[in-house]
Subunit: 115 residues, 2 copies
DNA sequence: CGCTACCCCTTGTGTCACAAGGGGTCGGCG
DNA sequence: CGCCGACCCCTTGTGACACAAGGGGTAGCG
């Protein structure tokens, strides 16, 4: 990650991956490209971050993998969102939004005068 | 942390602490209370998370500590926002907002029909 | 006197983003 | 034809950090 130096990515990456796959099966490389494009290049996922994350999600049963051929005629592993993965995408997104709203409210609170 | 099971706190806690101190010097316990109150009880900071974070921020020079007496007449360590701490609060908050906006844009993108 | 609220701290433990590597294949270009 | 760049997969450190679970001490009140 990216433009934004901070490691705010924690816990958000999984959601972004699941969201990418909600468009239909994708291989890893395409997932990374989708995230970059969907965030207006604000978020860039390193490969060393992406692939472990995909394996993690697969272990959890939220996505399922299958080898295939990419549109460029290359060997690629396609990931598909599972039923529980889709459920978690919805639950996680709403949880994420509540978190962001709460933190945002606190951070936006009007600055007081200082002593 | 809290209501929201996810560990989205990463990288946000520092900002919340700095923001709490932007109201003027506070001791640790009061910082935790401020965060809980300012987020409508959505975010609860564990003491085992808070104090190491305070020490971390102090090591970075963003806050400065001084022993004193709380309003309840108890020994307490008061933290004060330093100049560089205030600068980081502003920079970090805007960076946080850009991150949230980017991720939110991607997560909100209208769900397509599935195959 | 004991209990609760207040206030400080530490030591595991686990997760995870990242940097830095490595490997293989396809298509095109000099 | 050989090379190079884009495409596509992966692993092994390393460090940061939130959390659970402990510990300690003081003030005031029933």
């Amino acid at each position: 990650m990216s433009d934004l130096d901070v490691s705010l990515m924690r816990g958000t990456l999984d959601l972004l991956i699941l969201k990418a796959l909600s468009w239909g099966p994708q291989h890893g490389y395409a997932v990374a490209e989708w995230i970059e494009q969907a965030t207006g290049s604000a978020l860039l996922v390193e490969e060393g971050t992406l692939y472990p994350a995909l394996h993690r999600l697969e272990r959890k049963g939220w996505i399922e993998a299958e080898w295939g051929l990419s549109e460029n005629n290359r060997r690629a592993k396609f990931y598909r969102l599972s039923r529980t993965g889709r459920a978690h995408l919805h639950a996680g997104t709403s949880s994420w939004q509540r978190f962001v709203e709460a933190a945002g409210r606190a951070l936006r609170a009007t600055a007081p005068r200082m002593a």
